[in-house]
Symmetry: C2
């Protein structure tokens, strides 16, 4: 019985791993993908942040455009951190503490969706609140999982 | 009168140029941005293409996820080709024939939105038709505006 459960667990882990790998032909493709997605997300985070911080005048339409891109991008990078894709600025604990890293990614995606929802309201105070929560993820995750 | 129109045209061109430039602090930021957006778009185009071509089994949910990313990304790269951002694989005619390049980008974005709309139907034949039109843009534009 124990053997059977262990076997099923191993088989399902293998399957999940094969499926993640199959998304990218080579590890460097996965690295390029996650770096590209994070870069685009960073650009639009910076633009919305400038509006939230008052460095750029608030424009509800532009805020929403940026928030929509952030919400779309925040779901993507994590699939590029599959087994065997170490590299770039990624720290080793992304793979040794994969559950925590994955939970951080899921939280970021949810918080980014909340920014997009707030942007739909056109209310700057709501956007500021949601953006603050969203942007907090960036630093937390970079401090823990990214080499400077 | 002629002078006044010429002046207004020059002023509005300057304004548009300043506004495009203001999106990126340095030309290399614009180049990195457009390359990142195109790279993410390419990854998801490849995934949806594999489904459309039957190399991967059709999964309506996965098709829609990919189509949504394609539609979001297809709007982005063009802002990264502002004045003074020559570089990468970009040919000079992107700037000397800017209106044609811009029209191509707008068409791609519209065709990508049609792919996302088709994906919502869950009908593979509709997706195939829309994807064919969308993917045709890639080759046309690369042949004309990208160094190999």
């Amino acid at each position: 019985m124990k053997f059977r459960i262990a076997f099923l667990l191993a088989a399902s882990t293998l399957l999940a791993s094969v499926s993640a790998q199959a998304q990218f032909a080579k590890p460097e493709d996965a690295i390029k993908y996650r770096q590209s997605a994070l870069s685009v997300m960073g650009t639009h985070t910076g633009r919305l942040g400038a509006m939230v911080n008052g460095r750029v005048p608030f424009d509800a339409r532009v805020a929403q455009d940026n928030a929509d891109v952030i919400a779309a991008m925040a779901k993507l990078p994590w699939q590029g951190f599959g087994p065997g894709t170490e590299g770039g600025k990624a720290k080793a604990n992304i793979w040794t503490d994969a559950a925590k890293f994955r939970a951080g990614g899921d939280k970021l995606a949810a918080d980014a969706a909340a920014v997009a929802a707030a942007a739909k309201s056109g209310n700057l105070d709501q956007i500021k609140a949601a953006f603050g929560t969203y942007a907090g993820n960036c630093k937390t995750c970079h401090d823990e999982f990214r080499n400077q």
